[in-house]
Amino acid sequence: MSMFTYMNKLLALPLLVVMILMSHGCSMGGQLLKEAESVKDTPKGEVIVVGEIELTPKLAEDEQQLDASGVIDLFGYGDMNKNRCMVQFNEKPEASNYKSMINPELGKIFAFKVPRDMRYIVNGSVLTEFTRHGNTGEILLPAWFKIDIKPTDKAVYIGKIRYTRDDFNSITKVELKDDYKKAKKYFTKKFGKQYKLRKSLIEDI
């Protein structure tokens, strides 16, 4: 065995280990709940949550650095966060580690399938910097809300949450807007007239 072949084999093992660790690292990005494509295909144990999250001022092009040098983004973690936020749902009013997240696009109406028993929104953030050391920059969105979900609900509208930030990405104001008409129009166009979107605005816990 030549020195170079030996070195190649020697390098292959750590490379493999790094790849495995990286794939684990990427999955730490969170268990994402899926966007709703149809009401009919939504399982009984889930409800479609419709709403909107707005960040003002909007993110500028250079404010998110999601292309970490030295990291192969196998699972598209950067794209998952581009102009998007991460919002966590839970059965209890307490944060859990990177589970049951939705990643709606900022300033756009979203519709995600959420387990029916997850009535609490417990965490929110916008990733601004992703490096090989992990998530090193975030805008923390105060999120501590409750949603009223009835057993008969197929879809609920939770409102438009507007976060105002200062120059340093601290949230200075949180407002809830009722933009049901716009959401209903979106919902009808996407899912059809036959389904009801019940207004159930979020409440502070």
């Binding site: 500028a60 090193t136 923390l140 340093f168 990405n169 949230i171």
Partner: protein, 200 residues
């Protein structure tokens, strides 16, 4: 024999030329990018402050302080550091704050330390610079905060302190600038520092 010689040349090249080159280039990257500051640019400001890291796990103080500019566009300044004092003489107008600071390796330790100060919102070092001047970002002391749980990492606070004072630190910055030929060409900054010292 020729083949053997060729193999030895490859090994020699790998061990003594390629590997040292890679290591050297990594070493150079540790020093960060050199930022050149135009000595004639009168729109620039001086920023400075102090971190007392006596109670930090990273013995031997800090080696670098990264100041982030948020507005008008995102950018970073690598401040000069000397025994807790940090300063930069080429900051443009905008919103800035210390984002991270840390320690490089030492001869007695391979560990590097990075402390996050403001990557998740505003901190006390934040300043909105609207016109060129001398801006004191404050003096702070590292205070460890125990998580109370074996499974949770410990945290820290940077507690604002009165000592060393703005005047003491600025006097030090001025001394460094006047004594170092690389810095003494920055007459505009030196003038602003002297003016500020008269006010203190």
């Amino acid at each position: 024999m020729l083949i053997r010689t060729g193999r030895w040349i490859k090994i020699f090249v790998t061990l003594f030329i390629i590997l040292p080159s890679i290591l050297l280039s990594s070493g150079c990257a540790l020093f960060g990018t050199e930022e050149s500051v135009d000595a004639n640019d009168k729109t620039l400001s001086v920023i400075f402050g102090h971190f007392n890291m006596e109670e930090a796990p990273s013995w031997g103080g800090i080696d670098w302080v990264s100041v982030k500019q948020y507005k008008p566009k995102v950018g970073y300044y690598q401040a000069g550091v000397d025994e807790g004092l940090f300063w930069h003489i080429g900051v443009t107008n905008g919103s800035i704050q210390v984002e991270q600071f840390g320690r490089n390796t030492r001869f007695y330790s391979n560990a590097t330390y990075t402390y996050n100060f403001g990557s998740k919102g505003r901190n006390e070092t934040s300043r909105i610079i609207k016109k060129p001047g001398v801006y004191y970002l404050g003096s702070y002391k590292y205070v460890p905060v125990e998580s109370g749980s074996f499974f949770q990492p410990d945290n820290f606070d940077m507690k604002k302190t009165k000592s060393p004072s703005e005047k003491e630190l600025l006097t030090l910055v001025l001394k460094k600038m006047q004594e170092d030929s690389d810095f003494s060409v920055y007459k505009h900054q030196i003038g602003m520092i002297k003016k500020r010292l008269k006010q203190l």
